[in-house]
Amino acid sequence: MRNRADLVIYWGGNPAECHPRHFTKYALMPKGKHLPRGRKDRTMVLVDIRETKSVKAADIFLQIRPGRDFEVLTILRAIVKGQYVNPAMVAETGLTIEQLRDLVDRMKRARFGVMFFGMGLSMTRGKHMNSSAILTLAAELNAYTKFVAMPMRGHGNVTGADVIMRWTTGYPFGISFDRGYPRFNPGEFSTVDLLVRGDTDAALILGADPGATMPQPAIDHLARIPTIVLDPKVTHTSRLARVHITTAVTGISAPGTGYRMDEVPLPLRPALKSPYPTDEEVVRRIHELVRVKPDWLVHQPRTTQQVF
């Protein structure tokens, strides 16, 4: 990226405000081995539904109609392959056919193209279908030039959680252990759905503030059940929780590993000492106390666990 990407496309994200170091440290400003003039050697395209602070950094801003990402991506794929495009469909996207052709032309001419996509793409109408479309577009562009796509992740060490869940369970999120082994079904086992349906009778919240971001029925349920929050500061969720345990700030007063959005691990070395325990220590002590209780699996009939 730093050394090669001469076409950088941000789609459905606002890095200027949400990932402030992304331009300067990672993708846009740095001078690279094969891009000695840094920013001057790159073209930046921003695709979004509204003008954000990131527009100032863009060479080309493409404003599309809300909820039309999937259509735009599919039309781009058609243009890449030189197929017929229905003008009526183009008109619905809020862009002109010239703008789209120009973008495809730039994509094919790039030596190394990259698309970063944010939650404006992956969490709006179409959801995972949108992510799938942008990844397919990137894959198909490799018939012409080198092209990659990468998600812009949310707050905290979400990539780290994702990575570790994958190696221990095979799945990134939305995992149920209720049969004694990991099962995956987003929409059924993902946190927000469990809470909205009221399926859980306790919650342990670590490194997140669902009280600020989740839909009201989920928040109401968290307030109803015993909720425990581990956080260095008081959050919206701690206010509705039964227990709040103050922990040391990872990276400032607690050591650990952070995973960058591109899954590169970085060691976190604490600069300060904290009077509070680390998240790890709290979870370990809770686990030690839970461990001495009898194993509930032993008392379950084995047959129900061997479905597959």
């Binding site: 190394f112 994958r166 095979g170 799945y171 699996l297």
Partner: protein, 545 residues
């Protein structure tokens, strides 16, 4: 303390070929004798092998973890490991989870493995995953042949400085050996190009060729005296007609030690997919005559798997061929990788040639000490299918039965029908344990001599070879019984073997500005701290004079 009595012992490194004798264990090692108070296992009617060693597998790190994310449909239909008081939950299948990986390896009698591809930049991730692979001992190879700092030095002929950098990088990644994948080709892939011929200049360089990278690295590794030689994944993997590239690579290695990874993928003739055929004979002939080389088979079995390799350009080709899912990861300045799920089918002539080629190499290479069993897990097949390959090697009739289902056209392109050799149990013990342990330079593994690590697999003697090797009666790791009649009894943490080659401390001053120029992280954050490697055990290098 433990005594195993009455079993037939196969210990090729010490010349023991199926004699009935006692094996004694004290303090985690093989001992001459133990006292009367020792527990005794009656192994009458059973065979005793040194624990299996896998010289080339992919079980931990960014690439296999990406494959796990890409294949939830496989996780659903696979074996689930249910949590008990001794074992963690997990999933088997094409890309098993870390805990399941340890249980599955130990569950068939394998006790040591070598993770074959680690980029320095994400070595911390690999070591964190390896820590979660229980029971087995581990080592890993760091990827070097597309590292831009090393390539620049080789381009300028600065071999001495390149040696210092390589030594520093091995220690920085806490690796055990050096792996070269498609030398120059992965660097070229960052421009969407490949490097197919050894004498072609690598894209983006003036005169550097894959050939100079290979000889340069092999020489450096010999001079540093690493216990495991250069671990080479040759250029032009998987392509029809690539055997000439492989022969050239082997010739360029004359005078140096080298280990050729998954040789099966590099032994094809023909001009395109329609004319592709096996050229294992040419490869085996050259290999047999040159004792500086070792190899692992990279055998293929029919069925579903997911292919992952640092060979990015090849994976893009495979994606275009199959139209299935494709994941691509580029690791800045060092390497890249691609991931594509794949199904090998006997009705597909190319797949049939691949299946036969792996077996042909194992049968045509005369010295079993120099060829190890591998499937390049998960690329050719999953490691837990090794017993099926052992059955194919031990029974020519079984091979003929399998070939009966193949088309006449496929049979014309392979040599397997002509091969009658059948492996003995003694030879199986060599290719699964003694040989790979020797290739890795692990003197305490792969044999049952006094002082060796007490890693032992005890199998019921059985006509059904596949069943015999799938279900050991006992598996002993470091003197502790970990598997007993299919049940996991204990899940101790294995050790990690790490090498510290000698380098001049001034090399950091040279590296730092280069690093800050082209990487996006701080130099201090780059090396893996030794404390982050669980149960690390340092092994020595013996530098050449």
């Amino acid at each position: 303390m433990l005594r195993i009595t009455g079993g037939r012992v196969y210990d090729p490194a010490n010349g023991v070929d199926g004699q009935i004798r006692d094996v004694c264990i004290a303090d985690g090692r093989i001992a001459a004798a133990v006292g009367d108070g020792a527990r005794t296992l009656d192994a009458s009617g059973m065979v005793i092998f040194p624990g299996g060693v896998d010289v080339h597998t992919h079980v931990a790190g960014g690439a296999i973890n990406f494959a796990r994310a890409m294949t939830p449909e496989d996780h659903r239909r696979t074996v689930a490991f249910i949590r008990t008081q001794t074992q963690r939950s997990g999933l088997g299948g094409m890309a098993p989870t870390t805990f399941a990986t340890g249980y599955l390896y130990a569950g068939m009698g394998w006790t040591t493995l070598n993770e074959a591809a680690v980029p320095i930049l994400s070595a911390k991730h690999t070591h964190e995953e390896l820590r979660d692979v229980p029971i087995v001992d581990k080592s890993c190879c760091v990827l070097m042949a597309n590292n831009e700092i090393v390539l620049d030095l080789l381009e300028n002929g600065e071999l001495e400085r390149a040696k210092q950098v390589v030594a520093w990088q091995i220690w920085a990644s806490k690796a055990y050996g050096v792996k070269a994948v498609n030398p120059g080709g992965v660097a070229a892939w960052k421009w969407g190009k490949d490097a197919k011929q050894l004498s072609e200049t690598v894209e983006g360089y003036r005169k550097l060729t894959p050939g100079t990278i290979i000889t340069g690295l092999a020489q450096i590794i010999d001079e540093l005296g690493l216990p495991h030689p250069l671990h080479l994944h040759c250029n032009n993997l998987g392509a029809p007609g690539n055997y000439t590239t492989t022969l050239e690579s082997m010739k360029s290695l004359e005078g140096h030690r080298a280990h050729l990874a998954h040789l099966q993928y590099h032994a094809y003739g023909g001009d395109d997919w329609n004319t592709m055929r096996s050229e294992t004979e040419a490869i085996a002939d050259y290999f047999n005559a040159h004792s500086n080389l070792t190899a692992d088979a990279g055998a293929v079995l029919f069925g579903n798997t997911v292919t992952i390799t640092a060979d990015g350009p090849w994976q893009h080709l495979l994606y275009k061929l199959t139209g299935r899912k494709w994941g691509n990861l580029d690791v800045e300045n060092e390497t890249g990788c691609g991931i594509v799920p794949y199904t090998y089918r006997p009705s597909n002539i190319v797949n049939a040639v691949q299946w036969a080629s792996g077996l042909e190499l194992l049968l045509m290479i005369k010295d079993p000490w120099r060829v190890s069993l591998s499937t390049d897990h998960p690329n050719g097949a999953c490691f837990w299918r090794y017993p099926e390959i052992l059955q194919l090697l031990m029974s020519a009739d079984f091979r003929r039965d399998c070939m009966a289902k193949m088309s006449e056209e496929a049979k014309r392109r392979i040599r397997l029908p002509e091969l009658d050799r059948e492996y003995s149990l003694f030879e199986i013990a060599i290719i699964t344990s003694a040989g790979p342990a020797r290739a890795l330079g692990l003197s305490n593994k792969g044999h049952l001599g006094i002082g060796a690590d007490a890693d032992i697999a005890v199998y019921n003697q059985d006509q059904d070879i596949s069943r015999m090797f799938s279900h050991p009666r006992y598996v002993i790791k470091h003197g502790e019984i970990v598997i007993e009649e299919g049940e996991i009894r204990a899940t101790p943490l294995g050790r990690s073997y790490v090498i510290k080659p000698q380098y001049e401390s001034t090399i950091e001053e040279y590296l730092r500005p280069l690093f800050e120029d082209c990487y996006t992280m701080q130099f201090e954050n780059y090396p893996v701290e030794l404390e982050r490697v669980e149960h690390a055990e340092l092994r020595n290098c013996i530098p050449a004079e």
